[in-house]
Symmetry: C2
Subunit: 342 residues, 2 copies
Amino acid sequence: MKKYATLKDIAKALKISTATVSRALADRWDVNPVTKKLVLEEAKRQNYRPNPIATRLQNKRSKTIGLVVPEFSSAFFPKVIAGIQKVLDEAGFQLLITQSQESLEIEERNLKLLEGNMVEGILISITREGENAEYYQRLIDSGIPIVFFNRVSAKVEAPKVIIEDYKFAFFATEHLIYNGFKKIYHFEGPVNLSVSKERKRGFIDAMNKHHRQITDKTIVQAGVLMEKGYLAMQKLIANNDLPDAIFCFNDPTAFGALKAIKEAGLKCPDDIALVGFSETEVAQLIEPPLTSIEQPTFEIGETAAKLLLEQLDECSSVPFKTVRLAAKINIRKSSVNLKNNC
Amino acid sequence: MKKYATLKDIAKALKISTATVSRALADRWDVNPVTKKLVLEEAKRQNYRPNPIATRLQNKRSKTIGLVVPEFSSAFFPKVIAGIQKVLDEAGFQLLITQSQESLEIEERNLKLLEGNMVEGILISITREGENAEYYQRLIDSGIPIVFFNRVSAKVEAPKVIIEDYKFAFFATEHLIYNGFKKIYHFEGPVNLSVSKERKRGFIDAMNKHHRQITDKTIVQAGVLMEKGYLAMQKLIANNDLPDAIFCFNDPTAFGALKAIKEAGLKCPDDIALVGFSETEVAQLIEPPLTSIEQPTFEIGETAAKLLLEQLDECSSVPFKTVRLAAKINIRKSSVNLKNNC
DNA sequence: ATTTTAACTGCAAACGATTACAATTGAATA
DNA sequence: TATTCAATTGTAATCGTTTGCAGTTAAAAT
């Protein structure tokens, strides 16, 4: 069954050497046009397709780059991928995508898989569990450049693409403060991630600036998933420990919180206002529409891919830069203080 | 820079042959434990990692399978992927994911990419543009089994995993009919896809069963994306051609329609009721919550992966089967006739 | 003492392609 | 006629592994 035609088959059929066949197929100048035509015909007849594994072993270019993302379930990464793909397409590169499922172990497996497929570079957004820092470093040392985006490594020196998380977390919090909310909580993201830290820092600094008290209840662990936001909110409700506004790590957790709020017969924003982060399309659709920070997702992907290609080109030394893209806050109903407005 | 340690390096350092090194690393019986230990140590010292390209060239197993999906932007495919990954993990296989972006051309490129990486089999959900049928066939003939899921090929014989699209489209339509809606439209999916045809067929048959008239306006082209549903609805509104209920090809188009409805100052379900398809988590969150067909996404992935592994095992001939999974209709506010209920 | 056996180890040929470096041919130049 | 050159093709090494077969050594069996 597995009947691949190889160079050798064509060579045999034509009674010439594989070298000539190879050259003919590569359309080189130093091969007789007649022979070339024969080879091309025979190749088509036999349905020849070069074996890229062999090619790759030979000349170490794969024209492929690898991607590791934690998950696809939110709309965020798919859009980033679209941006990446655009840039790579233009440069004639292909993309192999892997999903770490937020697991350190799977992430490492994926990196090995990509390395094994001889990708020329890797784009990665790390898991919430932490980082395979030693492995990233090893890859870089062995000549496979890495570009981090969104969730970046704190330990490894490499180009990084992030947004102004601190600043916009600060804005978002101030927005709640200016709207007259008194008791503002923060649903914190996974503690291992620098994004979480940045957003928390923005929250805290904004609170401090306006002399708001931060107790040990103010900051709640809530992770990245809708489910987690749901559970965290349920817990607050069960404990009868209700803030009047929450700045959530991201949109899915805000959605989860909203679900719990509704189920408890409470109203948003009347009882509890919400702000999300990482604009998703559905933020506008839900009731009430969710105030959220809109990230330039597509651009994040583009930028990361460009940085990687740069690394590939000047195989020597562009200094590692961290690109920080701007974001935008979309204010919607979920965070306007109705009592104030009356 | 690119300083990979190879078998040869280890062999040289230890002044033995690469054959012995290879055997030592493969932990074979016929190598002196002392030598083995030396090799292992030296390998660690030099940070040796086998080059999988070379391995793959040698013994044609890659333990990798490839996946092609049209997009990730809806929650559907990510969940299917999770199911696939579970099964493959258990079987010790790895997954390379590619995205065709609904483009026939990119799909073919992706297939080539996967083939080039010597995947042992391919899972695919085809583009809305149609199929690369000849290429699928060629892959299968050349010994790379393919399993289709969700969006399957009509032309190629291969295992397929789908859900009871016809039946549930029928149910969904009947549900609208029983709820007393009079003028029911269908937002049709991409015409090239058999899923679209099945769902449309279900819609039509249900309408006919209940002697509802189907005019040339009843079925509206709306594609797969939220944007498309939005535009289609806007057009209906502009034409003042309003149904009182719409059975949408999928959830995103229903979301789009809802957005247009709200923007026009209309109410759902009072003015226009909606039913979606392919349950997404947010269906419950939006206002009104969306009635939708819930597909067993995770199970679709699992099933497809299992079918593929089966093909791989009995390298000969399991007959190609089409697995049809059941679904479930979740009735929510978006499709209940309020006038009726009073 | 001779033969058998076991325990290692190395040689060399694969896998499928690419590419320096000849080698061959015939025509053009001196 | 001798020399040079261009055009074309083949030989063989290479990429990093794996593996059948053969070779070496020493201990065990006869």
